[in-house]
């Protein structure tokens, strides 16, 4: 599961993209971890998340936040919360550290920003996973502005055609960039899509 990796974009755009993933190690500390995962999402709600979801159940835009919170499996799931600014991400990290819940936390974002958040909280990072980018027949890929949105759903649930379709809607004034981004967010089952960032990208595409 590398579904929160390989997000493309400029430094400025990626600066508004912090994905928190919280999961137990299956076979080691997953038994009765459901309430801890729920607690993580409850903490996240205090820090203005732009998306939350459970890889085993669905995301807040498709299923509703209450359903996401109430359907976390007792013996483990993979839950996510997405933040669109460093300040909220910093507060989230501080609170999750203090809660000392037990499952593992992975934060996806610009490395030096995430490292800075860890330093502020006295955290020694355990491991880093680097994206070496896209290899092979890259000539078959859509343009960068479309890719920047596509890569926010690591399972590839959002098609280039769908992005172009909603960008057309925004351009024609049929819907706002924010509403279009929330529509796209429904398709990313895990809830790692960042609709706030996507809205900015769609607005730029629609110009």
């Amino acid at each position: 599961m590398t579904h929160t990796l390989h997000r493309s974009g400029t430094r400025e755009s990626l600066g508004g993209d912090f994905v928190f993933l919280f999961m137990p190690a299956f076979g080691i500390n997953n038994i009765d971890s459901g309430p801890k995962l729920r607690k993580f999402l409850e903490i996240a709600q205090h820090h203005n998340p732009v998306n939350m979801g459970d890889a085993f159940y669905g995301n807040q835009f498709a299923k509703g936040l209450d359903n996401v919170m109430n359907n976390i499996k007792k013996d483990g799931a993979v839950v996510h919360a997405v933040f669109d600014n460093e300040e909220d991400a910093a507060h989230m990290l501080k609170d999750v550290k203090e809660a000392d819940l037990g499952p593992s936390l992975v934060v996806s974002g610009i490395f030096d920003r995430v490292q800075g958040l860890c330093q502020k909280n006295g955290i020694h990072r355990h491991a880093a996973t680097y994206s070496l980018g896209i290899w092979g027949k890259t000539e078959n890929l859509p343009p960068d502005d479309v890719l920047d949105i596509i890569t926010m759903c690591g399972h590839g649930m959002i098609s280039a055609a769908r992005i172009n379709s909603v960008a057309d809607d925004v351009r024609a004034g049929r819907k706002s960039a924010e509403d279009a981004a929330k529509e796209l967010a429904k398709q990313c089952d895990c809830g790692v899509f960042n609709p706030a960032r996507a809205a900015k990208l769609l607005a730029a595409m629609a110009k």
Partner: protein, 240 residues
């Protein structure tokens, strides 16, 4: 996935949802190209069909692996988990899967957008096996191998297509240059794209040795990625 031609009202609402562009209109009916469809189910879950014309029937072997690799809501037979990969280093401070002095390398074929046939996965897996990597035993691609020493994937799945399939392997850090060179040669021959990642443990001084290796090899990496914060417990004994 199929579409019931009797029910389809040719509204075309479902067409743009398909990541593989496998849905098209023929004679005023939406049809799905069965060879290109990876059974990800996004068309069905999109709710775009107002007349419930999608037909989602269980597939038989070998086609059934398409949904297992492409639909994140379908558990994979080899892992029991939804999704096409493993926990890799996300829980490493608890599992100790990646040991100090080792690197974890993953190649996700078909991501983004293009999808991939297992024949491309097979070719690269065999190339990596020759330089002495260890395939992740719990990975769904590894489960399709006839022999994990050679990386050979069983013949009957080679033409199957998935939204993505991930080779995951580990090797001692000193083998890194040879592994990456083997990958760079093999990837020239694939008929799709792949997204590639490399994971390493963070040293006590906050340095990550993999960065230095990549810089020396002239291989660029993105400014953003995943950081295992290290908050999980109980901690693996013997880890950093």
């Amino acid at each position: 996935m199929k579409i019931d031609a009797e029910l389809c009202i040719a509204c075309e609402e479902c067409v743009p949802y398909c990541p593989m562009l496998a849905i098209s209109m023929k004679d005023d009916v939406a049809v799905i190209d069965q060879d290109e469809c990876v059974e990800c189910g996004i068309c069905l879950r999109s709710g775009s069909c107002s007349v419930d014309a999608f037909i989602d029937e269980p597939a038989t072997w070998p086609r059934q692996i398409r949904a297992e690799f492409s639909n994140p809501t379908v558990p994979h037979r080899s892992t029991g988990l939804a999704g096409r990969g493993t926990e890799e280093v996300k829980t490493n401070e608890v599992t100790g899967r990646l040991k100090p002095g080792w690197l974890a390398f993953a190649i996700e074929f078909g991501r983004p957008v293009t999808g991939a046939r297992f024949r491309d996965v097979d070719m690269v897996a065999q190339a990596l096996a020759k330089v002495g990597i260890t395939f992740e035993p719990a990975n769904p691609v590894t489960a399709l191998m006839e022999d994990t020493k050679t990386g050979k994937i069983r013949e009957d799945v080679l033409n199957e297509k998935a939204l993505s399939a991930i080779i995951e392997c580990v090797f001692p850090r000193e083998k890194g240059p040879a592994v990456l060179k083997a990958f760079q040669e093999a990837v020239k021959k694939i008929d799709t794209v792949c997204s590639v990642d490399l994971a390493d443990l963070v040293e006590p001084d906050e340095q990550v040795p993999a960065e230095k290796m990549l810089n020396e090899l002239g291989i660029s990496y993105r400014i953003n990625g995943k950081t295992n914060i290290g908050l999980g417990r109980p901690k693996f004994k013997g880890g950093n």
